[in-house]
């Protein structure tokens, strides 16, 4: 029974990643007129990357941290849109495109999770529906 929902974990992680990215992108949009602001973005980390990051220790006698503080993604600065005179690098068009793409992916992963759970529910009801 323990691995009945094992397909849901990676989907849950993906949803977490997209939700956090939506905050980062909303922040970029809000700062379109802030002087010197450089837009940020979030890139995916594989489970191994975040697991290792959480467990890294600096002294061999220290214990590694529990993987509860897993990051949902790696922050990076995206200067590809070019900067204005006030040092602001935000392009509304680029951010709008990112917001749209991020939302679409979130919606699809959410629909995938729904479909998986529906299949499990069907099987759980002995194939007699509902």
């Amino acid at each position: 029974m323990s691995n009945l929902f094992s397909v849901i974990s990676p989907l849950h992680s993906a949803l977490n990643y997209h939700l956090e990215r939506s905050s980062v992108l909303a922040s970029n949009v809000a700062h379109v007129d802030t002087p010197g602001f450089k837009p940020k973005d979030l890139e995916r980390v594989s489970f191994n990357d975040s697991f290792n990051a959480a467990l890294r220790v600096t002294n061999e006698r220290h214990m590694g941290g529990a993987p509860t503080s897993l990051e949902n993604g790696r922050v990076f600065t995206d200067l590809s849109a070019g900067g204005g005179k006030d040092g602001n690098f935000v392009s509304l068009d680029r951010e709008a495109a990112k917001v749209a793409a991020n939302q679409m992916r979130y919606d699809v992963v959410s629909a995938v999770a729904s479909a998986e759970l529906r299949g499990l529910a069907f099987a759980a009801s002995d194939g007699r529906g509902g």
Partner: protein, 143 residues
């Protein structure tokens, strides 16, 4: 984890800031020909100064906590550049040389700023829309 509500808070701060900017633009346009103010001298155009502030939420363990900040108007900055001098000795506000100093408002520049603020406001609204839609689709999981 930074979630739906922090994203909404960030977007809301952007809308509020752009609205303040619209107000300063409106003030500049309305006073484009004001040669006399309470402080004496012609009207000087004003600009809001935006600054970012890290989101003060308890979930800043994640790396993205450093990447998300709300925007605030630090203060309203007065543009002290001199305005246009027009020779008009008959004008009540003329200086001893007969010149009247008009406000340093460039109407075309203000209109461009207004369009830019309006676009930024719309972008903020569509970001909020997108966040709301994501929450709606999460609600449909398992239905």
């Amino acid at each position: 984890m930074l979630g739906t509500f922090s994203a909404l808070e960030v977007s809301a701060s952007g809308l509020a800031a752009e609205r303040i900017r619209m107000n300063t633009i409106a003030s500049n346009l309305a006073n484009a020909r004001t040669t006399r103010t309470e402080a004496g001298g012609p009207y000087k155009r004003i600009d809001p100064l935006f600054e970012s502030k890290l989101l003060d939420s308890q979930g800043i363990e994640s790396g993205a906590g450093r990447a998300v900040s709300t925007v605030h108007v630090a203060r309203i900055v007065t543009d002290e550049r001199p305005g246009q001098l027009v020779y008009d000795p008959g004008h009540p506000d003329a200086n001893p040389d007969g010149y009247v100093e008009y406000p340093n408002v460039n109407v075309v520049e203000e209109m461009v700023n207004m369009i830019s603020a309006s676009r930024a406001y719309e972008a903020g609204v569509s970001a909020i829309d997108s966040i709301k839609q994501m929450a709606s689709s999460a609600l449909r999981i398992g239905r």
